[in-house]
Protein backbone atom coordinates (compact mmCIF):
# COMPACT_ATOMS: atom_id res chain seq x y z
CA UNK A 1 0.00 0.00 0.00
CA UNK A 2 1.18 3.50 -0.72
CA UNK A 3 1.34 5.79 2.26
CA UNK A 4 0.99 9.41 1.11
CA UNK A 5 2.35 10.75 4.42
CA UNK A 6 5.87 9.44 3.85
CA UNK A 7 7.23 12.02 1.38
CA UNK A 8 5.92 14.86 3.57
CA UNK A 9 8.62 14.06 6.14
CA UNK A 10 11.22 15.21 3.64
CA UNK A 11 9.27 17.67 1.51
CA UNK A 12 7.89 19.86 4.29
CA UNK A 13 11.20 20.71 6.01
CA UNK A 14 12.87 21.20 2.60
CA UNK A 15 10.17 23.64 1.58
CA UNK A 16 10.43 25.27 5.00
CA UNK A 17 14.19 25.76 4.61
CA UNK A 18 13.68 27.33 1.18
CA UNK A 19 10.91 29.69 2.32
CA UNK A 20 12.78 30.77 5.44
CA UNK A 21 15.81 31.63 3.32
CA UNK A 22 13.72 33.72 0.89
CA UNK A 23 11.06 35.31 3.10
CA UNK A 24 13.01 35.47 6.37
CA UNK A 25 14.81 38.59 5.19
CA UNK A 26 11.65 40.56 4.55
CA UNK A 27 9.19 39.45 7.22
CA UNK A 28 10.18 39.92 10.83
CA UNK A 29 10.07 36.76 12.99
CA UNK A 30 9.01 34.69 9.98
CA UNK A 31 12.02 32.40 10.44
CA UNK A 32 11.33 31.21 13.97
CA UNK A 33 7.56 30.91 13.48
CA UNK A 34 7.94 28.97 10.23
CA UNK A 35 10.60 26.65 11.65
CA UNK A 36 8.50 25.90 14.75
CA UNK A 37 5.41 25.26 12.64
CA UNK A 38 7.30 22.95 10.28
CA UNK A 39 8.69 20.92 13.18
CA UNK A 40 5.33 20.90 14.97
CA UNK A 41 3.69 19.52 11.83
CA UNK A 42 6.37 16.85 11.55
CA UNK A 43 5.92 15.85 15.20
CA UNK A 44 2.17 15.53 14.66
CA UNK A 45 2.48 13.35 11.58
CA UNK A 46 5.19 11.19 13.11
CA UNK A 47 3.09 10.60 16.23
CA UNK A 48 0.13 9.86 13.96
CA UNK A 49 2.30 7.39 12.06
CA UNK A 50 3.42 5.57 15.19
CA UNK A 51 -0.13 5.27 16.51
CA UNK A 52 -1.93 4.43 13.28
CA UNK A 53 0.60 2.09 11.67
CA UNK A 54 0.61 -0.36 14.59
CA UNK A 55 3.99 -1.60 13.46
CA UNK A 56 3.04 -2.45 9.90
CA UNK A 57 5.37 -1.56 7.04
CA UNK A 58 4.29 0.95 4.43
CA UNK A 59 6.12 1.82 1.25
CA UNK A 60 6.07 4.91 -0.93
CA UNK A 61 7.40 4.57 -4.45
CA UNK A 62 8.70 7.93 -5.60
CA UNK A 63 7.29 8.78 -9.02
CA UNK A 64 4.98 5.76 -8.92
CA UNK A 65 7.46 3.35 -10.54
CA UNK A 66 6.08 -0.11 -9.91
CA UNK A 67 8.28 -3.17 -9.63
CA UNK A 68 8.93 -5.10 -12.85
CA UNK A 69 9.01 -8.89 -12.43
CA UNK A 70 9.24 -8.35 -8.65
CA UNK A 71 12.46 -6.35 -9.13
CA UNK A 72 12.07 -2.86 -7.65
CA UNK A 73 13.19 -0.16 -10.06
CA UNK A 74 12.09 3.16 -8.53
CA UNK A 75 13.22 4.92 -5.38
CA UNK A 76 11.51 3.37 -2.37
CA UNK A 77 10.77 5.12 0.89
CA UNK A 78 9.98 2.66 3.64
CA UNK A 79 8.35 3.31 6.98
CA UNK A 80 8.43 0.37 9.37
CA UNK A 81 8.39 -0.21 13.12
CA UNK A 82 12.02 0.82 13.60
CA UNK A 83 12.18 3.88 11.36
CA UNK A 84 8.96 5.30 12.79
CA UNK A 85 10.50 5.37 16.29
CA UNK A 86 13.62 7.16 15.05
CA UNK A 87 11.41 9.61 13.09
CA UNK A 88 9.50 10.44 16.27
CA UNK A 89 12.61 11.23 18.28
CA UNK A 90 14.23 13.22 15.46
CA UNK A 91 11.24 15.47 15.05
CA UNK A 92 10.37 15.79 18.73
CA UNK A 93 13.90 16.76 19.76
CA UNK A 94 14.00 19.03 16.69
CA UNK A 95 10.84 20.86 17.77
CA UNK A 96 12.08 21.38 21.33
CA UNK A 97 15.48 22.56 20.08
CA UNK A 98 13.83 25.09 17.77
CA UNK A 99 11.70 26.45 20.61
CA UNK A 100 14.83 26.67 22.75
CA UNK A 101 16.70 28.46 19.95
CA UNK A 102 14.14 31.28 19.84
CA UNK A 103 15.82 32.81 22.88
CA UNK A 104 19.25 31.27 22.58
CA UNK A 105 20.05 32.17 18.99
CA UNK A 106 18.98 35.82 19.33
CA UNK A 107 22.56 36.54 20.41
CA UNK A 108 23.84 35.60 16.96
CA UNK A 109 23.45 37.38 13.64
CA UNK A 110 21.76 35.97 10.48
CA UNK A 111 19.11 34.08 12.41
CA UNK A 112 17.19 33.12 9.30
CA UNK A 113 20.20 31.12 8.06
CA UNK A 114 20.19 29.25 11.33
CA UNK A 115 16.55 28.19 11.05
CA UNK A 116 16.93 27.40 7.37
CA UNK A 117 19.94 25.13 7.98
CA UNK A 118 18.11 23.55 10.90
CA UNK A 119 15.17 22.58 8.67
CA UNK A 120 17.60 21.21 6.07
CA UNK A 121 19.30 19.08 8.71
CA UNK A 122 15.96 17.67 9.85
CA UNK A 123 14.98 16.97 6.23
CA UNK A 124 18.22 15.09 5.72
CA UNK A 125 17.79 12.99 8.83
CA UNK A 126 14.18 12.15 8.04
CA UNK A 127 15.29 11.19 4.54
CA UNK A 128 18.02 8.84 5.81
CA UNK A 129 15.61 7.19 8.20
CA UNK A 130 12.88 6.70 5.59
CA UNK A 131 15.02 5.76 2.63
CA UNK A 132 14.86 2.17 1.40
CA UNK A 133 17.55 2.78 -1.13
CA UNK A 134 21.31 2.88 -0.54
CA UNK A 135 22.16 5.81 -2.76
CA UNK A 136 19.39 7.93 -1.28
CA UNK A 137 20.74 7.21 2.16
CA UNK A 138 24.01 8.71 0.93
CA UNK A 139 22.33 11.79 -0.58
CA UNK A 140 20.22 12.57 2.49
CA UNK A 141 23.15 11.85 4.78
CA UNK A 142 25.18 14.46 2.92
CA UNK A 143 22.32 16.97 3.15
CA UNK A 144 22.19 16.64 6.91
CA UNK A 145 25.98 16.43 7.26
CA UNK A 146 26.67 19.58 5.22
CA UNK A 147 24.08 21.59 7.13
CA UNK A 148 25.49 20.32 10.40
CA UNK A 149 28.99 21.41 9.34
CA UNK A 150 27.62 24.89 8.78
CA UNK A 151 25.68 24.86 12.05
CA UNK A 152 28.70 23.77 14.10
CA UNK A 153 30.57 26.77 12.69
CA UNK A 154 27.65 29.12 13.32
CA UNK A 155 29.52 31.21 15.89
CA UNK A 156 32.49 31.68 13.47
CA UNK A 157 35.02 32.04 16.27
CA UNK A 158 38.38 30.27 16.54
CA UNK A 159 37.10 27.17 18.34
CA UNK A 160 34.04 26.70 16.17
CA UNK A 161 36.04 26.95 12.96
CA UNK A 162 38.69 24.53 14.15
CA UNK A 163 36.05 22.03 15.30
CA UNK A 164 34.10 22.26 12.05
CA UNK A 165 37.27 21.78 9.99
CA UNK A 166 38.07 18.54 11.83
CA UNK A 167 34.45 17.46 11.55
CA UNK A 168 34.35 18.19 7.83
CA UNK A 169 37.56 16.35 6.99
CA UNK A 170 36.58 13.25 8.96
CA UNK A 171 32.96 13.49 7.80
CA UNK A 172 34.20 13.78 4.23
CA UNK A 173 36.36 10.66 4.56
CA UNK A 174 33.38 8.86 6.07
CA UNK A 175 31.14 9.85 3.16
CA UNK A 176 33.72 8.61 0.67
CA UNK A 177 34.02 5.26 2.42
CA UNK A 178 30.24 4.95 2.34
CA UNK A 179 30.07 5.88 -1.34
CA UNK A 180 32.85 3.38 -2.06
CA UNK A 181 30.86 0.67 -0.27
CA UNK A 182 27.69 1.56 -2.15
CA UNK A 183 29.58 1.52 -5.46
CA UNK A 184 30.93 -1.95 -4.70
CA UNK A 185 27.48 -3.21 -3.78
CA UNK A 186 26.02 -1.85 -7.01
CA UNK A 187 28.85 -3.39 -9.01
CA UNK A 188 28.01 -6.93 -7.90
CA UNK A 189 24.24 -6.73 -7.46
CA UNK A 190 23.17 -4.10 -10.05
CA UNK A 191 20.60 -2.84 -7.58
CA UNK A 192 20.48 -0.25 -4.83
CA UNK A 193 17.28 -1.22 -3.06
CA UNK A 194 18.14 -2.60 0.40
CA UNK A 195 15.59 -5.42 0.20
CA UNK A 196 16.62 -6.32 -3.34
CA UNK A 197 20.33 -6.30 -2.46
CA UNK A 198 19.58 -8.90 0.18
CA UNK A 199 17.68 -11.05 -2.31
CA UNK A 200 20.53 -10.89 -4.82
CA UNK A 201 23.20 -11.61 -2.21
CA UNK A 202 21.21 -14.57 -0.87
CA UNK A 203 21.76 -16.40 -4.16
CA UNK A 204 25.47 -16.59 -3.39
CA UNK A 205 28.39 -14.23 -3.14
CA UNK A 206 32.16 -13.99 -2.97
CA UNK A 207 32.98 -14.07 0.72
CA UNK A 208 35.96 -11.70 0.69
CA UNK A 209 34.12 -9.18 -1.45
CA UNK A 210 31.19 -9.27 0.96
CA UNK A 211 33.55 -8.71 3.88
CA UNK A 212 35.21 -5.75 2.12
CA UNK A 213 31.84 -4.08 1.56
CA UNK A 214 30.82 -4.68 5.17
CA UNK A 215 34.06 -3.23 6.52
CA UNK A 216 33.79 -0.16 4.25
CA UNK A 217 30.22 0.56 5.33
CA UNK A 218 30.90 -0.15 9.00
CA UNK A 219 33.86 2.22 9.10
CA UNK A 220 32.01 4.89 7.11
CA UNK A 221 28.92 4.89 9.28
CA UNK A 222 31.05 4.25 12.36
CA UNK A 223 32.84 7.53 11.64
CA UNK A 224 29.48 9.28 11.37
CA UNK A 225 28.34 7.66 14.62
CA UNK A 226 31.66 8.29 16.44
CA UNK A 227 32.18 4.73 17.65
CA UNK A 228 35.47 4.64 19.51
CA UNK A 229 38.33 4.29 17.04
CA UNK A 230 36.57 6.90 14.91
CA UNK A 231 35.54 9.34 17.65
CA UNK A 232 38.17 12.08 17.35
CA UNK A 233 35.87 14.72 15.86
CA UNK A 234 32.89 14.34 18.20
CA UNK A 235 34.00 16.11 21.41
CA UNK A 236 35.23 19.15 19.48
CA UNK A 237 32.26 19.46 17.17
CA UNK A 238 29.60 18.79 19.79
CA UNK A 239 31.09 21.12 22.36
CA UNK A 240 31.75 24.02 19.99
CA UNK A 241 28.33 24.13 18.33
CA UNK A 242 25.57 26.39 19.70
CA UNK A 243 23.78 24.44 22.44
CA UNK A 244 20.50 23.63 20.63
CA UNK A 245 22.65 22.27 17.79
CA UNK A 246 24.75 20.24 20.24
CA UNK A 247 21.49 18.79 21.49
CA UNK A 248 20.51 17.89 17.93
CA UNK A 249 23.93 16.49 17.02
CA UNK A 250 24.40 14.41 20.15
CA UNK A 251 20.74 13.66 20.64
CA UNK A 252 19.69 12.59 17.17
CA UNK A 253 22.20 13.20 14.36
CA UNK A 254 24.71 10.53 15.40
CA UNK A 255 21.82 8.11 15.79
CA UNK A 256 19.86 8.90 12.64
CA UNK A 257 22.83 8.92 10.26
CA UNK A 258 25.12 6.58 12.17
CA UNK A 259 23.69 3.97 14.49
CA UNK A 260 20.32 3.68 12.72
CA UNK A 261 21.92 2.93 9.38
CA UNK A 262 24.42 0.47 10.88
CA UNK A 263 21.63 -1.45 12.60
CA UNK A 264 19.40 -1.32 9.52
CA UNK A 265 22.05 -2.49 7.08
CA UNK A 266 23.61 -5.15 9.25
CA UNK A 267 20.32 -6.69 10.30
CA UNK A 268 18.20 -6.23 7.19
CA UNK A 269 20.61 -6.11 4.27
CA UNK A 270 23.63 -8.28 5.08
CA UNK A 271 23.35 -11.87 6.20
CA UNK A 272 24.57 -11.79 9.79
CA UNK A 273 27.92 -13.52 10.21
CA UNK A 274 29.41 -14.31 13.58
CA UNK A 275 32.74 -12.60 12.88
CA UNK A 276 31.02 -9.31 12.02
CA UNK A 277 28.75 -9.62 15.05
CA UNK A 278 31.73 -10.10 17.36
CA UNK A 279 33.48 -7.13 15.74
CA UNK A 280 30.45 -4.87 16.29
CA UNK A 281 30.10 -6.02 19.90
CA UNK A 282 33.79 -5.32 20.51
CA UNK A 283 33.52 -1.84 19.03
CA UNK A 284 30.47 -1.16 21.22
CA UNK A 285 32.23 -2.38 24.36
CA UNK A 286 35.31 -0.28 23.58
CA UNK A 287 33.18 2.83 23.01
CA UNK A 288 31.26 2.27 26.21
CA UNK A 289 34.36 1.69 28.30
CA UNK A 290 36.88 4.17 26.87
CA UNK A 291 34.28 6.91 26.34
CA UNK A 292 33.38 7.05 30.00
CA UNK A 293 37.04 7.19 31.09
CA UNK A 294 37.71 10.04 28.68
CA UNK A 295 34.68 11.83 30.15
CA UNK A 296 35.70 11.56 33.78
CA UNK A 297 38.59 14.01 33.53
CA UNK A 298 36.68 16.76 31.71
CA UNK A 299 35.95 20.13 33.30
CA UNK A 300 34.22 21.74 30.31
CA UNK A 301 30.54 20.75 30.67
CA UNK A 302 29.85 20.31 26.99
CA UNK A 303 32.99 18.23 26.39
CA UNK A 304 32.02 16.05 29.33
CA UNK A 305 28.57 15.50 27.84
CA UNK A 306 30.05 14.82 24.40
CA UNK A 307 32.33 12.06 25.75
CA UNK A 308 29.36 10.57 27.57
CA UNK A 309 27.54 10.43 24.21
CA UNK A 310 30.30 8.14 22.91
CA UNK A 311 29.97 5.95 25.97
CA UNK A 312 26.16 5.73 25.83
CA UNK A 313 26.24 4.96 22.10
CA UNK A 314 28.54 2.11 23.09
CA UNK A 315 25.67 0.60 25.08
CA UNK A 316 23.41 0.74 22.02
CA UNK A 317 25.99 -0.85 19.71
CA UNK A 318 27.00 -3.44 22.30
CA UNK A 319 23.45 -4.54 22.85
CA UNK A 320 22.68 -4.74 19.12
CA UNK A 321 25.91 -6.73 18.74
CA UNK A 322 24.84 -9.26 21.39
CA UNK A 323 21.60 -9.72 19.45
CA UNK A 324 23.59 -10.27 16.25
CA UNK A 325 25.87 -12.86 17.87
CA UNK A 326 22.88 -14.86 19.10
CA UNK A 327 21.12 -14.68 15.74
CA UNK A 328 24.29 -15.76 13.92
CA UNK A 329 24.59 -18.79 16.22
CA UNK A 330 20.89 -19.48 15.59
CA UNK A 331 20.21 -19.97 19.30
CA UNK A 332 17.95 -18.32 21.86
CA UNK A 333 16.04 -15.92 19.68
CA UNK A 334 14.04 -14.59 22.62
CA UNK A 335 17.23 -13.32 24.28
CA UNK A 336 18.35 -11.78 21.01
CA UNK A 337 14.99 -10.00 20.79
CA UNK A 338 15.46 -8.71 24.33
CA UNK A 339 18.95 -7.40 23.51
CA UNK A 340 17.73 -5.62 20.38
CA UNK A 341 14.77 -4.15 22.25
CA UNK A 342 17.18 -2.89 24.92
CA UNK A 343 19.34 -1.34 22.25
CA UNK A 344 16.44 0.51 20.61
CA UNK A 345 15.06 1.57 23.98
CA UNK A 346 18.42 2.99 25.05
CA UNK A 347 18.66 4.82 21.71
CA UNK A 348 15.33 6.56 22.41
CA UNK A 349 16.24 7.31 26.02
CA UNK A 350 19.64 8.67 25.16
CA UNK A 351 18.04 11.10 22.71
CA UNK A 352 15.82 12.44 25.48
CA UNK A 353 18.30 12.83 28.33
CA UNK A 354 21.38 13.82 26.35
CA UNK A 355 19.58 16.61 24.50
CA UNK A 356 18.14 17.77 27.83
CA UNK A 357 21.64 17.86 29.34
CA UNK A 358 22.98 19.85 26.41
CA UNK A 359 20.10 22.31 26.71
CA UNK A 360 20.93 22.64 30.43
CA UNK A 361 24.56 23.28 29.58
CA UNK A 362 23.43 25.90 27.09
CA UNK A 363 21.24 27.54 29.73
CA UNK A 364 24.15 27.69 32.17
CA UNK A 365 26.39 29.16 29.49
CA UNK A 366 23.65 31.63 28.50
CA UNK A 367 23.26 33.00 31.97
CA UNK A 368 26.76 32.72 33.48
CA UNK A 369 28.87 32.97 30.33
CA UNK A 370 31.14 30.07 31.19
CA UNK A 371 31.37 26.34 30.45
CA UNK A 372 34.06 25.57 32.99
CA UNK A 373 32.77 23.59 35.96
CA UNK A 374 35.41 25.11 38.26
CA UNK A 375 34.03 28.60 37.73
CA UNK A 376 30.45 27.71 38.63
CA UNK A 377 28.74 26.88 41.86
CA UNK A 378 25.56 27.47 43.75
CA UNK A 379 23.44 27.74 40.62
CA UNK A 380 20.62 25.68 42.20
CA UNK A 381 19.50 28.85 44.02
CA UNK A 382 19.55 31.19 41.05
CA UNK A 383 18.45 28.73 38.34
CA UNK A 384 15.99 26.31 39.99
CA UNK A 385 14.38 24.97 36.80
CA UNK A 386 17.69 24.32 35.05
CA UNK A 387 18.99 22.68 38.17
CA UNK A 388 15.91 20.49 38.59
CA UNK A 389 15.75 19.32 34.98
CA UNK A 390 19.47 18.63 34.83
CA UNK A 391 19.11 16.59 38.02
CA UNK A 392 16.43 14.48 36.31
CA UNK A 393 18.62 14.04 33.24
CA UNK A 394 21.72 13.19 35.28
CA UNK A 395 19.83 10.51 37.17
CA UNK A 396 18.44 9.19 33.89
CA UNK A 397 21.81 8.90 32.20
CA UNK A 398 23.39 7.23 35.22
CA UNK A 399 20.59 4.70 35.40
CA UNK A 400 18.76 5.50 38.63
CA UNK A 401 15.13 4.29 38.91
CA UNK A 402 12.42 5.39 38.13
CA UNK A 403 13.95 7.29 35.20
CA UNK A 404 14.11 5.88 31.69
CA UNK A 405 17.88 5.24 31.60
CA UNK A 406 17.55 2.70 34.39
CA UNK A 407 15.14 0.48 32.50
CA UNK A 408 17.06 0.42 29.24
CA UNK A 409 20.37 -0.31 30.99
CA UNK A 410 18.64 -2.98 33.04
CA UNK A 411 17.29 -4.64 29.89
CA UNK A 412 20.73 -4.52 28.28
CA UNK A 413 22.43 -6.03 31.35
CA UNK A 414 19.74 -8.73 31.73
CA UNK A 415 20.10 -9.61 28.05
CA UNK A 416 23.89 -9.84 28.40
CA UNK A 417 23.56 -12.11 31.44
CA UNK A 418 20.99 -14.33 29.75
CA UNK A 419 23.22 -14.61 26.70
CA UNK A 420 26.01 -15.68 29.11
CA UNK A 421 28.25 -12.69 28.35
CA UNK A 422 28.93 -12.14 32.04
CA UNK A 423 31.99 -9.99 31.44
CA UNK A 424 30.04 -7.60 29.20
CA UNK A 425 27.23 -7.38 31.77
CA UNK A 426 29.73 -6.57 34.51
CA UNK A 427 31.41 -3.94 32.32
CA UNK A 428 28.05 -2.34 31.51
CA UNK A 429 27.22 -2.11 35.20
CA UNK A 430 30.68 -0.72 36.01
CA UNK A 431 30.44 1.92 33.29
CA UNK A 432 27.04 2.91 34.64
CA UNK A 433 28.57 3.49 38.09
CA UNK A 434 31.40 5.59 36.64
CA UNK A 435 28.80 7.60 34.72
CA UNK A 436 26.98 8.22 37.99
CA UNK A 437 30.20 9.45 39.60
CA UNK A 438 30.89 11.75 36.69
CA UNK A 439 27.42 13.26 36.81
CA UNK A 440 27.53 13.69 40.58
CA UNK A 441 30.62 15.78 39.96
CA UNK A 442 28.71 17.81 37.36
CA UNK A 443 25.78 18.37 39.73
CA UNK A 444 27.98 19.21 42.68
CA UNK A 445 30.26 21.70 40.96
CA UNK A 446 27.60 23.40 38.86
CA UNK A 447 24.58 23.62 41.10
CA UNK A 448 25.60 23.09 44.74
CA UNK A 449 29.07 23.61 46.19
CA UNK A 450 28.66 27.29 46.99
CA UNK A 451 32.08 28.82 47.30
CA UNK A 452 32.15 30.89 50.52
CA UNK A 453 35.13 32.98 49.44
CA UNK A 454 33.47 34.38 46.40
CA UNK A 455 30.50 36.64 46.48
CA UNK A 456 27.16 35.40 45.20
CA UNK A 457 27.42 33.61 41.83
CA UNK A 458 25.89 35.71 39.15
CA UNK A 459 23.41 34.35 36.64
CA UNK A 460 19.65 34.31 36.62
CA UNK A 461 17.02 31.95 35.25
CA UNK A 462 16.82 31.80 31.46
CA UNK A 463 13.84 33.06 29.36
CA UNK A 464 10.61 31.11 29.03
CA UNK A 465 11.11 29.32 25.66
CA UNK A 466 14.30 27.73 26.98
CA UNK A 467 12.60 26.70 30.23
CA UNK A 468 9.67 25.26 28.28
CA UNK A 469 11.89 22.95 26.21
CA UNK A 470 13.81 21.78 29.25
CA UNK A 471 10.70 21.05 31.30
CA UNK A 472 9.06 19.11 28.46
CA UNK A 473 12.22 17.05 27.93
CA UNK A 474 12.44 16.37 31.67
CA UNK A 475 8.87 15.06 31.58
CA UNK A 476 9.69 12.92 28.52
CA UNK A 477 12.60 11.39 30.49
CA UNK A 478 10.09 10.22 33.09
CA UNK A 479 7.36 9.22 30.65
CA UNK A 480 9.66 7.06 28.53
CA UNK A 481 9.95 4.68 31.48
CA UNK A 482 6.39 3.69 30.58
CA UNK A 483 7.74 1.91 27.50
CA UNK A 484 8.67 -1.09 29.68
CA UNK A 485 5.02 -1.68 30.62
CA UNK A 486 3.97 -4.75 28.57
CA UNK A 487 1.02 -3.21 26.68
CA UNK A 488 2.96 -0.16 25.53
CA UNK A 489 6.12 -2.13 24.84
CA UNK A 490 4.31 -4.44 22.48
CA UNK A 491 2.86 -1.48 20.62
CA UNK A 492 6.12 0.40 20.11
CA UNK A 493 9.25 -1.66 20.73
CA UNK A 494 8.12 -5.09 19.54
CA UNK A 495 7.36 -4.09 15.90
CA UNK A 496 10.85 -2.58 15.67
CA UNK A 497 12.49 -5.70 17.07
CA UNK A 498 10.44 -7.95 14.81
CA UNK A 499 11.41 -6.17 11.64
CA UNK A 500 15.10 -6.32 12.60
CA UNK A 501 14.98 -9.96 13.70
CA UNK A 502 13.25 -11.16 10.56
CA UNK A 503 14.93 -9.76 7.45
CA UNK A 504 12.94 -12.00 5.13
CA UNK A 505 9.77 -10.28 6.32
CA UNK A 506 11.33 -6.88 5.59
CA UNK A 507 12.26 -8.06 2.10
CA UNK A 508 8.89 -9.58 1.32
CA UNK A 509 6.97 -6.58 2.57
CA UNK A 510 8.93 -4.26 0.32
CA UNK A 511 9.22 -6.29 -2.85
CA UNK A 512 5.82 -7.93 -2.43
CA UNK A 513 3.77 -4.75 -2.16
Amino acid sequence: MMNPLIPLFVAVPLAGAFLIMILGRFIKHFDRVAASLVLLFLVIISLHAIVSSGGSTSVYKVGGWEAVNKIPIGIYMVMDGFSVIVLCIVNLIGLLSVIYSISYISRYTSENFFYSLFCLMVAGMNGVVLSGDLFNIFVFLEISAISSYALVAFGVEKDELEATFKYQVLGGVASFLILFGIGFIYWKTKTLNIADVRTVFSTGYDRNYYLLVQILLLSGFGLKAAIIPFHAWLPDAHSSAPSPISAMLSGVLIKAIGIYVIIRLFFNMFAISEGMAVLITTLGTLSMFIGVFLAVGQWDIKRLLAYHSISQMGYVVLSAGIGMILISREIRYEVAALAIAGSIFHLINHAAFKSLLFLNAGAIEYSTGTRDLKEMGGLSKTMPVTSGTSFVASLSISGIPPFNGFFSKLIIIIAAVMARFYLLAALAALVSIITLASFLKFQRYAFYNQDPDRKKTKGKEVPFPMLFSMIILGMICLLLSLLVIPGIREMILTPATDILMDPSRYTSQITGT
Binding site: V139, D159, E162, F165, Y186, Q298
Partner: protein
Protein backbone atom coordinates in the same frame (compact mmCIF):
# COMPACT_ATOMS: atom_id res chain seq x y z
CA UNK B 1 41.50 -4.84 -14.10
CA UNK B 2 44.46 -2.41 -14.06
CA UNK B 3 42.17 0.55 -14.33
CA UNK B 4 40.32 -0.41 -11.13
CA UNK B 5 43.61 -0.68 -9.28
CA UNK B 6 44.57 2.76 -10.59
CA UNK B 7 41.33 4.11 -9.10
CA UNK B 8 42.21 2.53 -5.79
CA UNK B 9 45.74 3.97 -5.92
CA UNK B 10 44.26 7.40 -6.61
CA UNK B 11 42.03 6.95 -3.54
CA UNK B 12 45.03 6.02 -1.40
CA UNK B 13 46.98 9.01 -2.77
CA UNK B 14 44.19 11.28 -1.55
CA UNK B 15 44.08 9.53 1.82
CA UNK B 16 47.86 9.89 2.14
CA UNK B 17 47.52 13.59 1.41
CA UNK B 18 44.78 14.07 4.00
CA UNK B 19 46.89 12.34 6.64
CA UNK B 20 50.32 13.86 5.96
CA UNK B 21 49.76 17.39 4.58
CA UNK B 22 49.98 20.30 7.01
CA UNK B 23 48.39 22.95 4.80
CA UNK B 24 44.61 23.35 5.06
CA UNK B 25 44.15 23.97 1.34
CA UNK B 26 46.23 20.91 0.47
CA UNK B 27 44.06 18.80 2.75
CA UNK B 28 40.99 20.09 0.90
CA UNK B 29 42.64 19.20 -2.43
CA UNK B 30 43.50 15.71 -1.16
CA UNK B 31 39.87 15.21 -0.16
CA UNK B 32 38.82 16.18 -3.69
CA UNK B 33 41.28 13.63 -5.10
CA UNK B 34 39.73 10.89 -2.96
CA UNK B 35 36.29 11.98 -4.07
CA UNK B 36 37.11 11.89 -7.76
CA UNK B 37 38.73 8.46 -7.52
CA UNK B 38 35.36 7.17 -6.32
CA UNK B 39 33.55 8.96 -9.15
CA UNK B 40 35.89 7.28 -11.62
CA UNK B 41 35.20 3.90 -10.06
CA UNK B 42 31.44 4.47 -10.25
CA UNK B 43 31.69 5.47 -13.90
CA UNK B 44 33.75 2.32 -14.58
CA UNK B 45 31.12 0.17 -12.86
CA UNK B 46 28.63 1.16 -15.55
CA UNK B 47 31.09 0.79 -18.42
CA UNK B 48 30.95 -2.06 -20.89
CA UNK B 49 33.28 -2.68 -23.84
CA UNK B 50 31.89 -1.47 -27.14
CA UNK B 51 28.63 -0.33 -25.58
CA UNK B 52 26.67 2.73 -26.69
CA UNK B 53 24.59 5.34 -24.90
CA UNK B 54 21.42 3.77 -23.47
CA UNK B 55 18.92 4.96 -26.07
CA UNK B 56 17.02 1.79 -26.85
CA UNK B 57 16.97 0.84 -30.52
CA UNK B 58 14.16 -1.67 -31.15
CA UNK B 59 15.61 -2.59 -34.56
CA UNK B 60 18.76 -4.07 -33.07
CA UNK B 61 18.01 -6.26 -30.01
CA UNK B 62 21.63 -7.37 -29.60
CA UNK B 63 23.07 -3.90 -29.08
CA UNK B 64 25.07 -3.47 -25.84
CA UNK B 65 24.28 -0.42 -23.74
CA UNK B 66 26.23 1.15 -20.89
CA UNK B 67 24.51 1.20 -17.51
CA UNK B 68 23.06 4.71 -17.07
CA UNK B 69 22.43 4.46 -13.31
CA UNK B 70 26.07 4.89 -12.14
CA UNK B 71 26.30 7.94 -14.38
CA UNK B 72 23.28 9.47 -12.68
CA UNK B 73 24.84 8.60 -9.33
CA UNK B 74 28.12 10.26 -10.29
CA UNK B 75 26.33 13.42 -11.38
CA UNK B 76 24.48 13.60 -8.06
CA UNK B 77 27.67 12.90 -6.14
CA UNK B 78 29.55 15.61 -8.05
CA UNK B 79 26.94 18.18 -7.02
CA UNK B 80 27.21 17.04 -3.41
CA UNK B 81 31.00 17.15 -3.67
CA UNK B 82 30.78 20.72 -4.94
CA UNK B 83 28.76 21.73 -1.89
CA UNK B 84 31.18 19.99 0.50
CA UNK B 85 34.24 21.57 -1.13
CA UNK B 86 32.67 25.04 -1.16
CA UNK B 87 31.78 24.68 2.51
CA UNK B 88 35.28 23.48 3.38
CA UNK B 89 36.91 26.33 1.45
CA UNK B 90 34.67 28.89 3.18
CA UNK B 91 35.77 27.50 6.55
CA UNK B 92 39.44 27.57 5.48
CA UNK B 93 39.17 31.23 4.47
CA UNK B 94 37.59 32.06 7.82
CA UNK B 95 40.28 30.08 9.64
CA UNK B 96 42.96 32.02 7.77
CA UNK B 97 41.39 35.32 8.83
CA UNK B 98 41.27 34.25 12.48
CA UNK B 99 44.66 32.57 12.80
CA UNK B 100 46.63 34.21 9.99
CA UNK B 101 48.04 30.87 8.87
CA UNK B 102 47.18 27.79 6.83
CA UNK B 103 49.40 25.56 8.96
CA UNK B 104 47.33 22.97 10.81
CA UNK B 105 49.98 22.63 13.54
CA UNK B 106 49.30 26.17 14.69
CA UNK B 107 45.53 25.73 14.83
CA UNK B 108 45.11 23.84 18.07
CA UNK B 109 42.84 25.59 20.51
CA UNK B 110 40.84 22.46 21.28
CA UNK B 111 42.58 19.87 23.40
CA UNK B 112 41.65 17.03 25.73
Amino acid sequence: MTVYWLCFILFLTGLYGVITRRNLVKIAISLSIMEFSIFLLLALVGYADGAVAPIVDPADPFKVYVDPLPQAMVLTAIVIGLATTAMLMAVIIRLYRKYGTFDIREIKNLRG
